[in-house]
Amino acid sequence: MSRIGVFICHCGENISRTVDVERVAAEVAKLPGVAFSTDYKYMCSDPGQNLLKKTIQDHKLTHVVVAACSPRMHEKTFRKAVEAGGLNPFLCEMANIREHCSWVHEDMEEATLKAIDIVGMMVERVKKNRVLPAITVPVTKRALVIGGGIAGIQAALDIADCGHEVILVEREPSIGGHMAQLSETFPTLDCSQCIMTPKMVDVANHPKITLHTFSEIELVEGYIGNFQVTIKKKARSVNEDKCTGCGVCMTKCPQKKIPNKFDQNIGLRTAIYVPFPQAVPNTPVIDRENCTWFKTGKCGVCQKVCGPGAVDFEQEDRLIVEAVGAIVVSTGFDLYSIAEKPKGSPIKGYGEFGHGKIPDVIDGMTFERLASASGPTGGKILRPSDGMEPKQIVFIQCIGSRAREKGISYCSKVCCMYTAKHTMLYHHKVHDGQAYVFFMDARTPGKSYDEFWRRSIEEEEAVYIRGMVSRLYQKGDKVVVMGSDIAVGVQVEIEADMVVLATAVMPQKGADLLAQKLGISYDKYHFYSEAHAKLRPVECATAGIYLAGACQGPKDIPETVSQASAAAAKVMTLFSKDKLEREPIVARVREVGCVGCFACKKVCAYGAVEEKEIRDRQGNLIKVVAYVNPGVCGGCGTCQATCPSKSVELDGYTDEQIVAMIEAL
């Protein structure tokens, strides 16, 4: 038999002005199971909470209903008070008679009747409430960082500096990501390599960081605090422990004319290579597709010249399993490959602007490599077709970005700024050259950004033309760019030596596949979704997984670094406790009724439903039922409404409780 205590709050006058609280208390006292009913001026105040605690003990209450404001406001307060009074906090419910009653109605009679209904409904509900013990899960204090660009590096260093072990996984042979490819960075024009490479070395030397380059995530299992991650270490064909990084193998390799992806395929590399001289780790990789040994079984020069005997043609892919408590995803971006349409891409516009057909039409990242002192031209701006220094250069912005009809409606955010930077770099290197920029809008929010953009026009003599390009074609050794200047209202035609396209920032290829392995959500472009756009911008909806950098949306370097540090702070918050406590509003399976149809598994957005085998004492399989992992369950209850045999129940929102409420009306 339940002994329910009902407390009606006046909320000063906020409730009592339109609701006759004494009458509500008197009416509710008549309900079966109600042992105590009173009204009080301010229930949330200290004396109010003390009244609650004292009454629970004096009247031996088993359940409590507090009729006051919205549970979104004070549910935690009262549940804590009830706990202090000696009851399980989930035996307390709030009836919302302020936001949903006294504030929205003026007629005293109507509001009072409604309040009585609301309180009565909660009294019936609370009778069916069960004791819910707090759920605790252990926390493994090791973090996994996926992606070794600036975001991953920053997050890994921050977490490792706090004394926690970090496993950093990078798909390419070296960490560094896109930032290592950049020549100089806006708005300060400091050299990217100069600020980036020390951080890369810090990662390599950090005693708490384990680096797995040339590796990919194969499988992710588990939940917050307890992930099991399988990492595939692809065969490098070079033993990392033996290699000293002397580089003799690379000088002797006869295959010297392979386009280097790091140099946007305008530079060349050997078959055994490091992508760039400052690579971390400085251990080469054999590109098996282009290596003579792997193609013909002959050659083996690198093996012969290698002093420490590190070259190992027999090496195979290895799988490593690591246990981690938190995951930071920082897989970064890729540029819109306008020349070539990836298979199945819904985005239109591929093949436009002559990219891929006209050799002197390049993208922004290629320009970065041309301008980079460590790039294929040694920092000279030379056009790819004939190595001539371009005297007229045209930059075209918003290639792909903000073109809703082509399938990308977002702004790529960094292009305005990097194009301004490109015009400056160009002007610094080609003094008698002229840069033109076709643009829609110049978007330069950020510290010292607008000043930087103005400088490119006022001091570095870039000509900005507001308008888009309508036609672009090769004429002799020139590229003719036709477009409109909508500010003046005329058509313009420029015979350019080189054209640079500011192509859109897009997520890394395969971002969707990784998201499926991790069980995190992504938008239609495959950018990963944060839990809340404003208030939880670095967390995924899946607990224990955090986002950093451009994998969540286009970002510049300062923003990426801030988000990476924020993600690291979130990881450290998680690691600050040995055990994780979570609200016990989770789904629970009644195994007796479950027929193992797994309709619940299909609708679960969190991947919390697992298959559990039930065996008899001899070990014979009786049936397979669903099991909801309480560490992963988000507590939405979609499984319960879906279950055809009604064998799964969401604690705190059981059918019993809901039906009791409906019947009370």
Partner: protein, 166 residues
């Protein structure tokens, strides 16, 4: 004239099934903004519209509700990633069933009300209340219950025979 001061012969009973994160918060906002709406609605809070079993809607009608409102987060805004999509699909199918058993679908309203849409909550509740008030009480379930209890309609010869055979 203020809406609350008008007296009608019939005041419908409206039950609203809402999710915590969007519509409940939207209704809270209507409260904090001191908006006014008819007092006919009784709100039941769920974590997510995905938790709302269609049976609850039937149960509400059976228990004498004259109108039912189901409201949650806008598509894409679900706190639980995709619960509202499941709800939408479920109720799209369920509407047909309700229509089949003879419930006037005007008594049932689905809507998306976000936590920022206090005004929309007021609008939705007011519209539904006024619509159902004009339609009059929902009697079908009550009549059916009475019929089954008192008319002896279920007291068929077949049943009697079966009963005697036991």
């Amino acid at each position: 004239m203020k809406p609350s001061s008008v007296k009608y012969d019939f005041e419908p009973k409206i039950i609203a099934f809402v999710c915590t994160w969007c519509t409940y918060a939207g209704a809270d906002l209507a409260g904090t903004s001191r908006m006014q709406y008819p007092s006919n609605v009784r709100v039941l809070k769920f974590p997510c519209t995905g938790r709302i079993d269609p049976v609850f809607i039937l149960k509400a009608f059976q228990q004498g509700a004259d109108g039912v409102l189901v409201s949650g987060c806008h598509p894409g805004d679900c706190h639980y990633i995709a619960g509202n999509f499941h709800a939408r699909r479920r109720f799209a199918a369920f509407r047909k069933l309700l229509e089949f058993i003879g419930v006037d679908l005007n008594r049932l309203q689905f809507s998306w009300v976000s936590a920022a849409e206090g005004g929309k909550w007021v609008e939705v509740v007011t519209d539904l209340t006024e619509r159902v008030r004009e339609m009059g009480p929902m009697v079908e379930f009550k009549e059916l219950a009475l019929e089954e209890q008192w008319s002896g309609a279920i007291n068929t010869p077949e049943l009697k025979e079966t009963y005697n055979a036991i």
